[in-house]
């Protein structure tokens, strides 16, 4: 899933959508129910109103004229109740209602006195009708008409209304009319039913539309969220999981491994000289490079392996289930693939990388622990010649311990825990000591004598090298006063870091120290590594020029091991070139080394420099150097670094070695 940039699948059912669907269904149904209820009620009300209107018309057009007939006006309601209708009025009522009842327009019509007495009934019955106690009867006798639907075999509407007999507005009784309602009810029901389907259908469509909208919205929200999640966990440039995602994945895998007893490897990868690509070809090329690199990495990996970009040119891999051999094999393959030439902006280049491997459970169970160790291994690789380094214990743990070392070293400077040992350099021609190289040692109160390799990188890294070098210079010049007083005329060599040369005012410092010790400048030699010279910055160049002008000798240390191009040497006031021990130790056997050393000697002499061979450990080598024309030699054969009083002033080859070697 992490290998390709695939949009995470959106779940088809979403709780958000379901919530919305249910929540919106409630008001839609409620609205529908409410509208329908209202409509039904209105329909019934309409039916009743129609009944009332009909009864009113009947009363005014049938009943009132009939009662007002003749000379006897209807006066006094109670009077009518008691007296009843005249024969004439009764006949007119019969006439008026007969046809309507026959045709079914009116089912029944009764006139009632306020006492409830039936004054007229279409069927002649005087005992039928609504009881006086009925609220409708009471209302009608108080002037308020009432209509009620009666559910029987067929539906009937019963109207009770005051009998306003004449124009005076006097009510003389109650009219009780029964009107057919079935037809009206059927029509109203049909209307309600129509409305029901229309509203119901409309609401259903509305609901579906709403749901559709909600679904679309939630889907796009989900996609957006998924994208956000993806972006939060992936590197935008390469599409690889990022630091956060890597952490999550790795923690999960490690937990599983701890539980199930699995094993694997964590690898940190750092591209070499990526910054140069970025600086020279631009960020676009840098980005392109990173993309290409990630593609090549991915191609080399198995399906269970995890690759992530932690940032910059830093990558990380988790290789579950792979042991040391497997992991190294895989990475070698990956490196091979990686170093294949690629063309960026028309520039062919090959990129290299340093791989640091930490194995689990061997080197740790936890993410941080493993990462630290892989990091340590990677740095070791960067410093050394190996690209793929498996963590191998404490020695590789400098980066981790550097902070501690730096802090302690600071104290060491203050407490004067450092001491200087001197290793002699002898003239090859006569074996006399010409110079001594000051080498710093740390007399640690707990750890004893700490070798320089354990603390110098830390000092170099932190800038602590500047005060340290100053201390060494001061002490060496002081010691030199000591041996000069003892009659020894030795030049003192002090190692100087590139960082020292970058500090403005370093030449001034040196001049000051020389003056302070009343020492002539040519008694001091500053050894600068080839790499420092290649640093190529103006400051360094200027510092060297100034120091040289001062009269201080400049020595190129470890020549041949670094990256110096010969052009660097041109125009550089170099007094001495020290051939790296890597070439020197093999001259007895290796013709190529011999050729190189010979060339360097010739080159140095051509440039007007002295040549010193480092790492001379056997007489055989020494003899060869004599023969090759080397000027000076340094090494265990001649003398190990010791406090200056123990330096042997003269060196002579052991006779046996000499004769044997010579014979051969």
């Amino acid at each position: 899933m992490w290998k390709r940039r695939v949009r995470p699948r959106v779940r088809s059912t979403s709780r958000l959508f379901a919530t919305f669907a249910v929540a919106s269904l409630v008001p839609v149904v409620a609205l529908g129910a409410l509208v329908l209820q209202d409509y039904t009620r209105d329909a019934a009300e309409q039916g009743r109103a129609q009944g009332l209107a009909q009864a009113d018309v009947i009363t005014q057009m049938v009943v009132a004229p009939a009662l007002n007939s003749g000379d006897t006006p209807t006066l006094g309601g109670d009077d009518l109740s008691r007296r009843g209708l005249t024969a004439d009025q009764h006949d007119r009522m019969r006439e008026a209602t007969r046809l309507a009842v026959f045709n079914g327009s009116v089912q029944h019509l009764r006139l009632r006195g306020f006492s409830g007495r039936v004054i007229f009934s279409d069927d002649g019955s005087s005992s039928s009708g609504v009881p006086v106690s009925d609220p409708d009867f009471q209302a009608a006798s108080n002037g308020e008409p009432r209509a009620r639907v009666i559910m029987g075999r067929t539906r009937t509407i019963r109207v009770m209304q005051p009998m306003f007999a004449g124009a005076t507005g006097q009510s003389v009784g109650v009219v009780e009319v029964y009107l057919p309602y079935q037809e009206i009810a059927d029509r109203l029901e049909q209307q309600v039913s129509h409305t029901f389907w229309r509203i119901g259908g409309g609401l259903a469509v509305l609901y579906v539309l709403l749901a559709l909208l909600a679904w679309l919205t939630t889907r796009s929200l989900r996609r957006y969220a998924a994208d956000q999640r993806y972006n939060a966990l992936h590197d935008a440039l390469t599409g690889l999981p990022n630091r956060t995602a890597f952490r999550t994945w790795v923690e999960e895998r490690l937990d599983r491994a701890t539980r199930d007893g699995g094993h694997g490897a964590m690898v940190l990868v750092d591209l070499n000289r990526f910054k140069e690509v970025n600086d020279t070809l631009g960020h676009h090329a840098g980005d392109e490079l990173l993309r290409e690199v990630s593609v090549r990495f991915r191609d080399s990996l198995g399906p269970d392996d995890i690759l992530a970009r932690l940032g910059g040119d830093e990558f990380a891999l988790l290789l579950p289930g792979r042991d040391r051999t497997d992991a190294v094999a895989l990475l070698e393959q990956a490196r091979a693939r990686l170093t294949e030439e690629m063309v960026l902006d028309g520039v062919p280049l090959s990129i290299e990388a340093s791989f640091g491997i930490a194995l689990y459970p061997e080197h740790g169970h936890h993410m941080e622990e493993l990462k630290q160790r892989a990091d340590a291994a990677m740095y070791q690789g960067k410093r050394g010649t190996m690209d793929i380094v498996v963590y191998s214990g404490e020695q590789a743990a400098q980066p981790h311990q550097w902070l501690v070392v730096q802090a302690e070293l600071r104290h060491a400077l203050e407490r004067d825990e450092l001491i200087l040992h001197y290793q002699p350099k002898v003239g090859v021609s006569d074996g006399t000591v010409r110079a001594v190289e000051a080498l710093v040692r740390w007399q640690h109160p707990e750890r004893g004598l700490v070798p320089p390799g354990d603390f110098l990188p830390a000092a170099e890294h932190s800038g602590l090298i500047v005060p340290l070098t100053e201390w060494v210079l001061r002490r060496a010049l002081t010691d030199q006063l000591g041996w000069t007083a003892a009659g020894k005329r030795w030049v003192v060599s002090v190692n100087v870091s590139a960082r020292n040369l970058e500090v403005p005012g370093f030449p001034g410092l040196v001049a000051g120290l020389l003056a302070e010790h009343r020492t002539a400048p040519h008694w001091l030699m500053l050894e600068v590594t080839e790499t420092a010279l290649a640093g190529d910055t103006d400051t360094v160049q200027r510092a060297i020029a100034e120091l040289s002008a001062l009269g201080v000798g400049i020595s190129v240390d470890d020549f041949g091991a670094g990256y110096t191009s010969l052009s660097h040497l041109r125009g550089m006031p170099v007094a001495e070139i020290k051939i790296d021990r890597a070439f020197v130790k093999d001259v007895a056997h290796d013709p190529q080394s011999r050729a190189i050393v010979r060339s360097v000697i010739e080159l140095a002499h051509g440039l007007g420099s002295r040549v010193t061979a480092e790492g001379v450990e056997t007489a055989e080598v020494y003899r060869w150097l004599i023969e090759a024309g080397c000027d000076e030699a340094q090494g265990y054969l001649i003398g190990r670094p010791v406090p200056w009083p123990q330096v042997e002033p003269d060196f002579s080859l052991p006779v046996i070695d000499y004769s044997e070697g010579f014979v051969r």
């Binding site: 006006p73 006066l75 006094g76 309601g77 306020f114 006798s141 108080n142 002037g143 308020e144 005051p162 306003f164 004449g166 124009a167 005076t168 507005g169 006097q170 009510s171 003389v172």
Partner: protein, 299 residues
Amino acid sequence: MRLIRRGIAVLGITAVLATGGCSTAALTTEAGQLDEVAAVTRDEALHALLPDDVKARGFIRLVTDASYAPMEYFAADGRTIIGFEPDLAAAIGQVLGIRVEMVVGAFSTAVDEVNAGTYDGVLSSMTDTAERRKKVDFVNYFYTGTSILVQRGNPHGIADLQDICGQAAATEKGTYHEGMLVRLRKECGSRKLTIHSLPTNADAMVELRSGRVAAVLQDYPPAAFVTTDQRTSAFFQLASDHQYEPGHFGIAVDRDNDDLRDCLRDALQRLIDSGVYNDLLARWELSASGVKAATINAG
């Protein structure tokens, strides 16, 4: 405290008005309550002067034709009689300390019924005329003239009484206006005037509304009422502002019933003096037609 009692008294009056004087319970209001507003008080002396049979019966029955708003007419329920006259009757009853009932009857036969003893009197906007005085005495409580009522828009162009000649006119049977029309008919000569005499004033209005007559003669107050009331003003208007043959209304009492007549007059005078009479007139917007003093047979 005073405020509360005052409030109760006002409520009492309102109750009297609301029931239109028909309710015995409302009429026999406690005297103390009414004292507070210096309104209607029972006069024991007058009560003592009431005829014995009336006192024994416990109520006075006055006949009325309730088709004459705002003087007397039916409320919406079709049974309660309301208007200025029911209110006046109730107030008189309170002064006399006796219940006064308003009974619906035909106007044309009302005087005869009183003579026959069916009712104690007529209180139905009856004009005090010499002819009626032959049968009854009048306690005068109101003064107004006759108006000509026509359809809205006055389609027959009636401006004066003479204009009715050659047309049909309606009026309530047995009224003073019927007499006026009969007299007018004689003056009309060849332009024949047709008179529709109907059982109630409402029936006359129906005739006018339905166009069967050109005009209706009636007293100014009810004519003004129908032309201004929002339910009827769209159909009727006054032919002119002139009031013809103004005269008194009176409560008709049998000529042999002097005790009752005088009691009614004195009670009315009490109401005039106390201001209750004017208050009742004002409530029905009839202040212009009030009398200054209660008189008998003033014509």
